[in-house]
Symmetry: C2
Subunit: 98 residues, 2 copies
């Protein structure tokens, strides 16, 4: 996530002996800040917790709000933008790299 | 979850071609309703979304509230109880059974 304007808090990870996947909370603090488009070879499962934002995608961005979820497939380009007045926060679950 | 007083909504699962894990939202609607103690051979990663409840455990129950997370290891007994006036809702991520 080069140039990402975001903080990541790891809730559950390898340190907890979690065998398969890790749960993080990602926060983009202020309006206009973003995680630019990028891709990984693994998937994300995302659930929006607070604030308002856009899910960025080469095929078109879409607004997301509290309670929405986003599946990002392995290799799929994606990013996130805060479009609200509050911190934009979401859960992001990824596989543990073995 | 025999006798569970809960509903499960699958957000992201095998139908989405998710390769490794599934994201669900579990709701226990009313105060006093519960998912009784039980265990699986796989882990849960849980994040509390709404309401108030107790994480039930043979070693002692503990109160949980919005923003808390719970790691349940494979084989560990666990359950949940709604202790509030609103629906008690949480994200629960599990591995996809291969």
């Amino acid at each position: 996530m080069a140039d990402a304007q975001a903080t990541i808090r790891w809730l559950i990870a390898e340190k907890d002996k979690a065998p398969n996947f890790a749960m993080r909370v990602i926060e983009i603090a202020s309006r206009g800040e973003r995680i630019p488009l990028h891709a990984h070879d693994y998937e994300h499962e995302i659930f929006i917790l607070d604030g308002a934002g856009m899910a960025l995608h080469p095929d078109g961005d879409r607004p997301v709000r509290v309670g929405d979820f986003v599946y990002v497939a392995p290799g799929e380009k994606h990013g996130f933008l805060n479009t609200g007045d509050e911190p934009f926060r979401f859960i992001c679950v990824i596989p543990i790299q073995k």
